[in-house]
């Protein structure tokens, strides 16, 4: 291939510039977080006396440990159940191919682009009537329902490509549908399942609208919802707000950096399918 040397250099330069723009907000948060609490620093300026204590202060003010616990509980409620229900339905639609599958599938697909704001008002009254307002279930149960279109769509796409012969030979050996599903198809679906798990984890952890509408107590919300409350409470103390924001986005960042390759693949596939 003819690679223009100049082209490669413009490419590199552009890439570095783009990365700089991407990282800039994080750097700004970090530097500002080191200024004396309550001060009003200007722009990007390394403080003369970095206040590392701000992170400790924000850690306590935001009650980070409780927040992580709350978000984890919500994720543990949402992700496994969504995976299970989505896999069951995707298996039936994509592989068992029962009559009427195209209609069910269409009903699910119609929900793919649904903006959550569209249903938030009735959800509030419904959750209230169920007596679940201000509990974590108020976030968990609706999210499972709202994730179904994507989960079913995703898992169906996987099962549709599984060869029929696989099930045939299992049936010859006397497996029933249930065994066929658990022993043969679920193990084979692991790559698709883990990507889906990553996406659902991310969307749940970062869920904001449901958290602020359905749960008043920041300690029972997702991280994102808690950050909203933290901003309301400490919005005037810029360095503390910056420190708190960094702490609150740190868990996803750490998990992302550990599993980055899986994340990038999952997000790419996720947006391609969605």
């Amino acid at each position: 291939m003819i690679v223009g040397r100049r082209e490669a250099w413009t490419g590199r330069l552009l890439l570095v510039l783009l990365m700089a723009v991407t990282i800039m907000p994080f750097v700004s948060l970090f530097v500002t977080a080191l200024h004396p609490s309550g001060s009003y620093p200007s722009g990007l300026e390394w403080p003369r006396d970095p206040q590392w204590g701000n992170f400790v202060k924000a850690f306590q003010a935001a009650r980070m440990i409780d927040l992580v616990k709350s978000s984890t509980l919500i994720v543990l409620g949402v992700v496994p159940i969504s995976l299970l229900l989505g896999t069951l339905a995707g298996f039936a639609i994509g592989h068992l191919r029962m009559a009427g599958r195209n209609l069910v599938f269409l009903v699910f697909v119609l929900g793919l682009t649904l903006p959550f704001e569209g249903v938030i008002t009735p959800l509030y009254y419904q959750v209230r009537d169920m007596g679940l307002l201000n509990t974590r279930w108020a976030i968990i149960l609706p999210l499972i329902g709202l994730y179904m279109p994507f989960a079913v769509f995703w898992m169906r796409a996987h099962f549709v490509n599984m060869p029929d012969e696989l099930s045939e030979s299992a049936r010859m050996d006397g497996a029933n549908v249930w065994q066929l599903f658990w022993r043969i198809h679920v193990p084979l679906a692991m790559p698709a399942l883990s990507s889906l798990a990553i996406l659902l984890f991310l969307w749940t952890w970062n869920q904001f609208l449901l958290a602020i509408v359905l749960v008043d107590d920041p300690l029972k919300r997702t991280m994102s919802g808690a950050l909203g409350a933290f901003q309301g409470q400490w919005g005037t103390d810029i360095p503390l707000l910056c420190a708190g924001s960094l702490l609150i986005l740190a868990p996803t960042l750490v998990i992302f950096l550990i599993f980055q390759r899986r994340f990038v693949t999952a997000l790419l596939q996720g947006s391609l399918k969605g």
């Binding site: 069951l88 039936a92 195209n102 008002t121 419904q126 179904m148 901003q231 986005l249 947006s271």
Partner: protein, 322 residues
């Protein structure tokens, strides 16, 4: 992993259900159908369908029902017919929210997709270098963090003493420095910039991964024929990336129309109503102003708008060969 299209099942002859008699006779040969009554599949679908019905389908139906009433959420409701919808399109404040969402498309979609295309085609040749691998991770950061955090970080960058103004002053443009999110004329574009920041990386990487699937021989042939970079871009890159561009446009347009988190954190719809978007207005109407009917009418309009925009894009850019 193969890329599925929604109708691939329908299109494959093996799965097309034949006449009932034929199906029954042949069922032993049809794999999953072997000795499995066809209704068993419904048992597998039932749980998913149940939660979906309770927490999505029923609320959608209720939203439509609420939208026909005047209701404060507590007392009795009165029938309003299509009155709420008329108001959505005639009340300047309400209609402005829809216009604002449409204007945000320029920033959320047009900038990330156009800029993403330009950047991706420039860095295409170094797409496998170490630098590009690092960039893949870095450019995904905005996708991973909560939008709320992005909003807080950018509110600070765009504030009167933030980094943006500092940079402007540094290059001698101190005259235009201002509180970008607090100024009537710049608040909406400033919110748009935040959205562009969030989505640019995703679009660039998505388009870049699409470009890596284009046969390099095509480019070589074009070079032999004396095509310049621009010609290459228009004749090879863009047509080959139809599907990826479609995905980028769909994702970003929905993000613009349904924006909530970023606006809530950075401006709360202000100053005045300058950055009010439908999502935020629904939230205020339903939960602060107790106009549940109006909120629901706006919600229905928003849902229809999203579908009206998403469907044609999907249809236009679908890969027809598969």
């Amino acid at each position: 992993m193969t890329r599925p299209t929604p109708d691939s099942v329908v299109a494959s002859p093996a799965t097309r259900p034949g006449p009932a008699a034929v199906t029954r006779k042949r069922s032993p040969a049809r794999g999953a159908g072997l000795r499995t009554p066809r209704w068993v599949g419904w048992l597998f679908v039932a749980p998913a369908l149940a939660v979906y019905a309770v927490f999505v389908l029923r609320p959608i139906a209720l939203t439509i029902q609420y939208s026909m009433y005047r209701w404060d959420g507590i007392g009795p409701s009165t029938w309003a017919g299509l009155g709420n919808y008329v108001k959505v399109f005639t009340d300047p404040d309400l209609f402005a929210t829809i216009l604002n969402a449409v204007k945000l498309i320029v920033f959320f979609s047009a900038i990330p997709v156009v800029l993403g295309l330009a950047i991706a085609s420039t860095i295409r040749r170094i797409a496998t270098s170490r630098l590009a691998l690092v960039a893949r991770t870095v450019l995904f950061l905005p996708q991973v963090i909560p939008l709320v955090a992005a909003g807080i970080a950018w509110s600070w960058l765009l504030s009167s003493s933030g980094l943006v103004n500092q940079l402007l002053t540094y290059v001698g443009l101190g005259g235009v420095a201002r509180a970008w999110l607090g100024d009537f004329s710049t608040a909406l574009p400033a919110v748009g910039v935040i959205g562009a920041w969030v989505l640019l990386g995703l679009c660039t990487i998505l388009l870049l991964s699409g470009m890596s699937k284009i046969d390099p021989a095509l480019y070589e042939a074009a070079r032999m024929d004396g095509a310049g970079p621009l010609r290459e871009f228009v004749s090879i890159t863009v047509p080959s990336l139809r599907q990826e561009i479609g995905v980028c446009v769909t994702v970003t347009v929905i993000a613009a129309l349904a924006s909530f988190d970023i606006v809530y954190v950075s401006t709360q719809g202000g100053p005045g109503n300058a950055t009010m978007v439908p999502g935020l207005e629904i939230y205020y109407l339903a939960f602060s102003e107790r106009q549940v009917g109006m909120a629901s009418a706006l919600a229905v309009v928003l849902m229809v708008l999203v579908i009206l925009v998403a469907l044609p894009i999907q249809w236009l850019t679908r890969d027809r060969t598969s």
